[in-house]
């Protein structure tokens, strides 16, 4: 019974997302793309935070890696966006591998501080290497050239066209993250979060699993960064700042850290609410601070978790075993 309603909601949401592309006004389309991109960032990030239990304050560095990777590739090599995205994600992945190698040797607060340090190192590099990165101006003039697939060329320079490309990447991310969560690897990650010692005694290297989660989430951050750079046609050094790292944490918490859809719902709420609040008052931070307080003090499951609780109180059969949530 519950399954049926889940499928219906998914179908409705999908229809809505497609409709936005066809009928939405300029601003709505732009806002939706920002939601989708933040969702990609947060979905990947939550694999590390919610699933594996590691709090990283440096993932913005990988977002920036994707953005600047694509930007530099686009400006100096070729404007083909697909290649640019691959370049950006590859750079983010490599950065995550190197930084992660050092960071996963520690846990809890030391891990958090290490990721903060590395993230800010990346930020200061981007800020200071003006000749390469454009410093505080960022890279400008990134072109949304058409995607050439050999047999066909897909134009994406118009916002509405680009929207469908972003939507495609979002759906791809959703599918991949969903699969990862339900895989053996995903279950082991949950084990690492719950009791890493026990995972060692099952014969698995906890450090390697943490590193893998780190790199995977860093790669998704990079993907989000490439899409963001293409959206704005420029890069921004503050995308590497630790305050940007706080965004996926915030939206995952608001949506529900332990749920799959939490980061998506949280992203939508964060961006939309912020726009709404900013219409009436400059003080959106105040309201978000209050919302955050409310969630931490009371609704730790976040929005999705809270809704799930509501549904659970109606008698529904539990889903079959054999899969991680």
């Amino acid at each position: 019974m519950k399954r049926f309603w889940i499928y219906v909601s998914i179908a409705l949401i999908l229809a809505g997302l497609v409709a936005i592309g066809f009928f939405g006004g300029r601003f709505v389309v732009y806002l939706s793309m920002r939601v989708l991109i933040l969702s990609i960032f947060a979905l990947g990030y939550n694999l590390l935070l919610g699933r594996t239990g590691l709090l990283s304050f440096g993932h913005a560095a990988f977002y920036a890696g994707g953005a600047y990777g694509l930007g530099l590739f686009s400006i100096h090599v070729a404007t083909n966006p697909l290649l640019g995205i691959i370049a950006g994600v590859a750079l983010a992945c490599m950065m995550a591998l190197i930084i992660g190698f050092f960071c996963v040797r520690h846990t809890e607060i030391y891990f958090a501080m290490l990721t903060l340090a590395f993230g800010m190192m990346v930020f200061s590099l981007i800020w200071n290497l003006r000749d390469v990165t454009g410093g505080d101006d960022g890279l400008v003039g990134i072109v949304r050239a058409p995607i050439s697939l050999g047999i066909a060329t897909i134009p994406i320079s118009k916002a509405t066209h680009y929207y469908f490309f972003v939507l495609f990447c979002f759906l791809l991310t959703v599918a991949l993250v969903y699969r990862i969560r339900r895989s053996p690897f995903g279950l082991v990650l949950a084990g690492v979060r719950e009791n890493d010692r026990r995972v060692e005694f099952a014969g698995l290297s906890v450090r390697n699993y943490r590193l893998a989660a780190f790199v995977i989430s860093g790669s998704f951050a990079g993907l989000a960064g490439t899409l963001g750079a293409l959206l704005e046609s420029n890069t921004n050094p503050f995308s590497a700042h630790w305050s940007h790292s706080a965004e996926p944490i915030l939206v995952s918490l608001i949506g529900g850290i332990q749920t799959f859809a939490g980061p998506i719902v949280g992203s939508a709420l964060f961006i939309v609410l912020r726009e709404v609040i900013e219409r009436f008052t400059q003080n959106w931070m105040l309201w978000f601070g209050l919302i955050l307080l409310a969630i931490i003090m009371g609704l730790r499951g976040g929005v999705v978790g809270g809704l799930a609780q509501l549904f659970r109180s109606e008698k529904c059969p539990a889903p079959p075993s054999g899969g991680a949530r």
Binding site: Q282, L290, L292
Partner: protein, 289 residues
């Protein structure tokens, strides 16, 4: 050349002592409560704004403002710990950090709402304004004052923790919460008191910053909190001695960096932080994990 180096050293010392003043509260709170308080930068900011307002209300009396401002922030600290933080000690680290982060958001906007989003000019303190010549070049008197206050605070805290009954209880509770509770220490009350004291220290830093930083802005908390984190980590999370020495190191490093290799001093600071975390996570002066 010599006066150049001496001046850079003095600048480094005053920066370092300034950071120490802010980091002392952060370190105390982490050492006793085990919580890394993001909102400490906000206490600093609130301290600065309260002091500024109070001193303007009281005929530009800096010392009165410095006395009363941090006390107001203390009250805020009480509310934060007693009604919010206390209930999340048992939760995982992300929730604690995010709770304090929520307060950062709140306080930032509250300050904007009350004092406006722009920056406020800061007055000079009679008697401590101007500069005096050292080795031929002029150096601000207020910075010398800061260089003096830093060690005073350090000695004061050392005396408090090592020589008083209160200090003994704090040390006991921070090393073994359950044991302290078992022998009759009312740990929750103690934690509130320590948090208030930490907030007071942060606000003191803010108050002393009023003539020092030139301009007060709502974002001033954010920039200082990262430096305080770096210092606390390098010195050893929870170690006051470490924070003092760490602040000295960072202050001097920053001053020499700004003078001789201007572009990369931020990078250097964070590389030092990462290096300490990787090779000696207990900090330069902390106890072995």
């Amino acid at each position: 050349m010599l006066e150049s180096i001496v001046h850079v050293c003095l600048a480094g010392l005053s920066t370092g002592m300034f950071i120490w003043l802010v980091a002392s509260g952060l370190t105390l709170i982490f050492g006793v409560l085990g919580v890394l308080n993001f909102a400490h930068g906000s206490f600093y900011m609130l301290g600065a704004y309260f002091c500024y307002t109070l001193l303007s209300l009281m005929g530009d009396n800096f010392w009165l403002g410095l006395l009363l401002g941090p006390i107001c922030v203390c009250v805020v600290g009480f509310a934060v710990e007693r009604y919010f933080l206390r209930y999340v000690y048992h939760l995982a680290l992300p929730y604690q950090l995010l709770l304090t982060f929520a307060f950062v958001l709140l306080f930032d906007d509250l300050v904007k709402m009350i004092w406006g989003a722009g920056s406020i000019g800061s007055p000079t303190v009679p008697g401590l304004s101007g500069s005096i010549p050292i080795l031929g070049r002029h150096f601000p008197v207020y910075s010398l004052f800061i260089i003096g206050v830093g060690p005073l605070v350090a000695i004061g805290m050392w005396a408090l923790l090592e020589k008083t009954w209160w200090g003994r209880i704090i040390r006991a509770a921070s090393s073994d919460r359950e044991m302290a509770s078992a022998i009759g220490v009312r740990v929750p009350t103690l934690f509130t008191a320590v948090f208030m004291f930490g907030a007071w220290l942060g606000a003191m830093g803010g108050g002393l910053a009023v003539p020092y930083v030139g301009l007060l802005t709502p974002g001033m908390g954010e920039s200082i909190i990262i430096e305080a984190f770096v210092v606390a980590v390098i010195g050893g999370l929870g170690s006051l001695k470490g924070a003092f020495l760490g602040a000295l190191i960072i202050g001097l490093l920053s001053a020499f960096g700004t003078r001789f290799i201007p572009t990369f001093d931020m990078f250097l600071t964070f590389i030092l932080m990462a290096a300490v975390l990787l090779w000696r996570p207990q900090g330069l002066f902390g106890e072995a994990a």
